[in-house]
Symmetry: C2
Subunit: 241 residues, 2 copies
């Protein structure tokens, strides 16, 4: 059978842009060590092992690439167009494939959000490097399109779900929450409008505490209500994931 | 390679419940003609052909099962747990599989919404029958869980997207829109609250027409704004679907 099945992961973290810029999205890529696209960057992943579940394969790639556990992990999409082959201009998995070059590749892609400090995001594994999502190198296969789709999903989802939770500490100010939304959306948001809309959803609630510090009027701290976070994402059937 | 790849589809239509009951969700199932689960009902689908794209495979199953084009078609999920095999109690595709019974099966499942009149929904193909989603027979493999997940996705999505559009004519009354939401959610909604919320989203707008009929005060007709429908679902990359 000439169909190969691979699992790849788009792993996203929020960190300051280079030169202490504003918060922005970063993701780790793996440099390919064999043809095709030898020397190019690609998403972490590889062929699905017979004894490995889909989500476990994504977790394994995340762990070996970053040493991190995901704050959020969800299946993104199964890409399986007829033009996806390891030999052609599309398809395939990142670091290590091992499939015949003429095979058509169906890739099941996960996306993960992680909380990565700058030092944690340093090179954890050989051939791994983090890039700002807005300044990616040329990528192998169709991985640029796959990343664009993951970013579109994140930008859509932050509008109707409490997914920003994955990027925040347990308690946060509304300014910090807004900074996460601005970094994901790539544009500034009006503070007063954002505050009103964020509180209207009912997803966050004041903790009763204020930010510790030296300011005259320290801002209030908020947290996500447990029930709003627990219901996202809709879990797939346990036995079938 | 002991991994088999299949594509299955959960196809949903809205029609009156049996005995002229309220609108409810129906879906077509295929009676299996071979072991395992010979004689049981299963989702339409089968093994992915080497020359067939994923979405095309879903469209082919939809067409051969119902003779209909989908008003909405989206990838639901790739199910690939280790316990999914054609021999075991889970996994696999519906009508015709053709895989060795010891193989592990990864199923990429699509969900489709169709507008099926009662006569169109009559048996279109041999071994196909429509069932109310609330009164399904025992299903082969893990297909009951797969259907539950599709229903959960639809119920979540109708809360934040214009997906009800797929079940409605071009112009509709707010009572018809509410009936779609009630049928999907499986519960009655307060008419005044529903009207206020539906108009607040900005997804629908009055057409300026009223329902033709003999009533003293015929209700106003609405339509979805083109831009609200055009953006759902988020399209995957064209070359990779």
């Amino acid at each position: 059978m000439a169909l190969q099945l691979a699992v790849s992961s788009v792993i996203l973290a929020l960190r300051p842009a280079p030169d202490d810029g504003p918060l922005t999205l970063w993701l780790p890529l793996v440099r390919r060590i064999r043809e095709p696209y030898e020397g190019s960057w690609a998403l972490p992943g590889g062929p699905l092992g017979e004894a490995c579940g889909l989500e476990q394969a994504a977790r394994d790639a995340l762990s070996s690439t970053t040493g991190l556990d995901p704050a959020y992990l969800e299946q993104l999409y199964a890409f399986g167009g007829l033009d996806r082959s390891l030999a052609g201009g599309a398809g395939g998995a990142g670091g290590d494939d091992g499939a015949d070059q003429a095979d058509r590749v169906v890739s099941i892609v996960y996306w993960a959000l992680v909380q990565a400090e700058e030092d944690q995001a340093a090179v954890r594994a050989h051939n791994v490097e983090w890039f700002p999502a807005s300044a990616l190198p040329d990528l192998a296969f169709d991985h640029t399109q796959v990343i664009d789709y993951a970013l579109a999903r994140l930008r859509a989802k932050i509008g109707y779900s409490p997914i920003a939770h994955a990027f925040l500490p347990a308690e946060f100010t509304l300014a910090e929450l807004r900074a996460v939304h601005e970094a994901v959306l790539g544009r500034e948001l009006d503070p007063a409008n954002f505050r009103r809309q964020a509180l209207a959803t009912g997803a966050v609630e004041p903790t009763g505490h204020r930010l510790q510090g030296t300011r005259h009027r320290p801002p209030s701290l908020y947290r996500y209500r447990a029930e709003s976070v627990a219901t996202s994402p809709t879990p797939p059937p346990r036995s079938a994931s």
